[in-house]
């Protein structure tokens, strides 16, 4: 994965748990005390090690850590200089989700080794939709839930997300999003 992701993990740990905790996580993951470079390609193993060490040091499940990271990612990527890009992806949550593939494809021009997941949207109603998530990397569904929750904050929505794995010819994960009635009057999906 690109250094940007590892940088985000580091930033999350430092911001939320302090520098000492990050140092322990980094050390536990066997990584040197060196900054990650955003555009540098790192082996996926490093990110998985970081998540594993974070689980151990923070005494949290992998699911909890990934969810937290997903929530943080939507904020971090904007702060890391991609705010305008995120802004341009969509003005509503479904539009954003529908344009993610196009954004990833365009970003691949710069991040040439990017292996982005794929998102599609179906069953769209004013207060609900179903997000289909396809990825070559297993086990990251909790991260998507966190990301969707983070995006809901961005679009000022209160949502419930239900994860439903889909089997069949093209197995993937689906996320059933429903806007909570109390918030539905603020904005629609």
């Amino acid at each position: 994965m690109y250094g940007l992701i590892n940088q985000a993990v580091e930033d999350l740990c430092r911001t939320k748990f302090g520098n000492a905790v990050w140092d322990r996580i980094r050390s536990d993951a066997g990584l040197p005390d060196e900054p990650f470079l955003r555009m540098e390609k790192y082996p996926d193993e490093i990110t998985y090690k970081l998540v594993g060490a974070a689980c151990k040091v923070l005494n949290l499940s992998a699911e909890a850590v990934l969810k937290e990271f997903g929530r943080f990612w939507t904020v971090y990527s904007a702060e890391a200089g991609y705010g305008e890009l995120l802004h341009s992806v969509g003005r509503t949550l479904p539009e954003f989700l529908k344009n993610l593939d196009q954004m990833h494809t365009r970003i691949q021009l710069a991040f040439t080794h990017l292996q982005p997941p794929s998102f599609t949207v179906s069953d769209e109603t004013p207060n609900s939709c179903v997000v289909h998530y396809y990825s070559e990397r297993p086990g990251l569904a909790p991260l998507v839930i966190g990301m969707l929750e983070g995006l809901s904050v961005r679009f000022r929505l209160e949502i419930d997300v239900q994860h439903v794995p889909v089997q069949g010819a093209r197995p993937h994960d689906t996320f059933h999003i429903r806007v909570r009635p109390a918030a539905a009057n603020k904005a629609t999906v």
């Binding site: 470079l37 200089g81 305008e84 890009l85 529908k98 365009r106 021009l109």
Partner: protein
């Protein structure tokens, strides 16, 4: 009819294709009025008037000099930049092409889209990435530009970080240069002090001799007294120089352990956070410690503050003072020590830290929080006190420093009396000093005080005198001399002739053993310059010991 139907169907297909490819597509009829428009016009600008005239809607920014719709047909295929009249920030870039509308000959298509050079303006204009279909390279370009901007921002940040590291590095190098410079200055000052002390010694000795010849009522007596006072004042200045060069002798004296550590406790407690507790325990058998009070304070203040820094979340620091007999780390014979342990409940140290702990400039603290000289200073001070220091630490388990300081009284009690010592007889002083202007007045001072004196200018001459039958009761020797030093002479004399009381005199206290004050009971050190009475009193004290 069928032919017309095909043309109409073809036109509709053309329209659908253009609307898909160019969300901001529109047509301009031959009379200049707007015809069909793409879907995005309706969502982005609901106020758009389909019957409006092109010239009322758009200003042509490029090509330059075109009047309006009437000129469009003359510039088919040229790149146009159109500006919406009611929204000057909204520009469209594209070209006009002839349309195949069978019902409206002369109609032109506008095949183009919003013209942006910054992604930031996209949201501001109410646009989104979807307004740039995948065939449109402008979308790619905008994303690439965003990535490039982000990369530039990262590079700028990395440059700032690098500059900061270089600044810190240069700061450290400056500190090292400063320390090296101070060492040079110290050496220079020490050397100067040595030479000045010898000169002052000569002045003072001659003045003392002259004073001894005069009665207090003599007018010269008062002038000579003034010379002595001025010499003492000059001597205090050279002491200042020696302090700066860290060559000032430590004042080893019997210290009250309870009082000393109570003082240290009073000094450090205000520097500890509320969540750090300090406990002091002194074993009842330890009442006296032979050390230099300032060094002692510096050692334990450093250790306690180091312990404090190792406990950012608070904890306990314990100082325990006890007596121990053990072999020092240098492997020499076991001896008695006053052992002072400073234990904390802090973060502890890893192996690398323990290995480098006492090295100058080794620090685990953040830049600017410490230069790494605290523990190396502690190490130096402990060495100067003829002691030893040990550390025991594990990550997460806290740290214990143990400082072993010589327990002089207990060691003396342990040391058996030496046998076969040959004592030379007679009140005879063997005076050794390479500086004639120092040696001569000293001879007179000693003779006036009733001593017999053998006076020589070097250690080699002194040994020769002894080998040729000189019988001296005491050796009075300068320390720094060409050839064999005073301390080497004392050792050679002791080896060849047995134990002999020795009084070392020097204006340059660069011998660590002399500076530490840990001399055998039959050795003393007297820094130059000194008064005649002080010299005589010290010699007599040594002889009667």
């Amino acid at each position: 009819m069928r032919h017309d139907g095909d043309r109409a169907a073809g036109w509709q297909a053309e329209l659908r294709l253009l609307r898909t490819l160019f969300p901001f597509y529109f047509t301009v009829a031959a009379d200049g009025r707007l015809g069909a428009v793409g879907e995005r016009w309706r969502t982005c600008m609901p106020e758009i008037d389909l019957g409006a005239h092109f010239d009322d809607m758009f200003a042509i920014a490029r090509p330059i000099g075109l009047a309006g719709a009437a000129d469009l047909g003359q510039h088919l295929g040229d790149v146009f930049l159109l500006r919406l009249r009611n929204r000057p920030d909204f520009e469209l870039r594209g070209q006009f092409l002839p349309a195949g509308d069978p019902d409206a000959p002369g109609t032109l298509h506008f095949a183009g889209g919003p013209w942006l050079t910054k992604l930031a303006t996209m949201a501001h204009l109410g646009l989104a990435m979807s307004d740039f279909p995948s065939h449109d390279p402008r979308g790619d370009l905008l994303v690439m530009m965003q990535v490039q901007e982000s990369q530039l921002a990262e590079l700028r940040q990395l440059t700032v970080n690098l500059q900061e590291r270089i600044r810190q590095q240069s700061l450290l190098e400056g500190q090292i240069r400063q320390i090296q410079k101070m060492e040079l200055v110290g050496r220079f000052a020490g050397g100067m002090a040595h030479n000045f002390n010898n000169i002052l010694m000569a002045i003072r000795s001659h003045a003392d001799l002259a004073l001894a010849e005069l009665t207090p009522g003599d007018p010269l007596h008062d002038w000579l007294q003034q010379i002595c006072t001025a010499t003492d004042h000059a001597a205090s200045l050279t002491r200042g120089l020696l302090t700066m060069s860290r060559q000032q002798p430590v004042r080893i004296q019997a210290l009250d352990v309870g009082a000393e550590f109570a003082d240290i406790q009073k000094l450090v407690e205000p520097l500890l956070a509320a969540n750090v507790k300090l406990h002091l325990r002194i074993a009842s058998e330890v009442t006296t410690l032979h050390a230099d009070t300032n060094s002692l304070k510096q050692i334990f203040m450093n250790l306690v503050l180091n312990a404090r820094d190792a406990m950012p979340k608070g904890g306990t620091i314990a100082i325990d003072v006890a007596r121990r007999v053990e072999a020092p780390p240098d492997g020499s014979a076991p001896r008695a020590f006053v052992a002072v342990t400073v234990t904390d409940t802090g973060t502890g140290m890893d192996e690398r830290t323990k290995t480098n702990l006492f090295e100058p400039f080794f620090t685990t603290k953040a830049l600017g929080k410490g230069v790494g000289l605290g523990l190396s200073t502690v190490y130096g001070l402990v060495q100067q006190l003829d002691g030893a220091i040990r550390v025991d630490s594990e990550l997460g388990m806290g740290t214990t420093f143990q400082v072993l300081l010589p327990d002089i009284a207990a060691t003396a009690a342990m040391t058996p009396a030496r046998q076969g010592m040959t004592r030379l007889t007679g009140d005879h002083v063997l005076l050794v000093d390479d500086e004639t202007h120092v040696r001569r007045p000293l001879e007179r001072v000693l003779q006036n005080a009733g001593f017999r004196v053998t006076s020589v200018a070097s250690a080699e001459e002194a040994l020769s005198a002894l080998r040729h039958g000189a019988r001296c009761q005491i050796l009075l020797t300068d320390v720094v001399m060409p050839g064999m030093s005073g301390t080497e002479l004392a050792a050679a004399v002791e080896k060849e002739f047995g134990e002999l009381p020795v009084l070392f005199i020097s204006g340059h206290n660069d011998d660590s053993r002399l500076r530490s004050g840990h001399l055998p009971s039959h050795h003393r050190f007297l820094p130059k310059p000194f008064a005649a009475e002080e010299l005589v009193a010290t010699l007599r004290a040594l002889l009667s010991a």
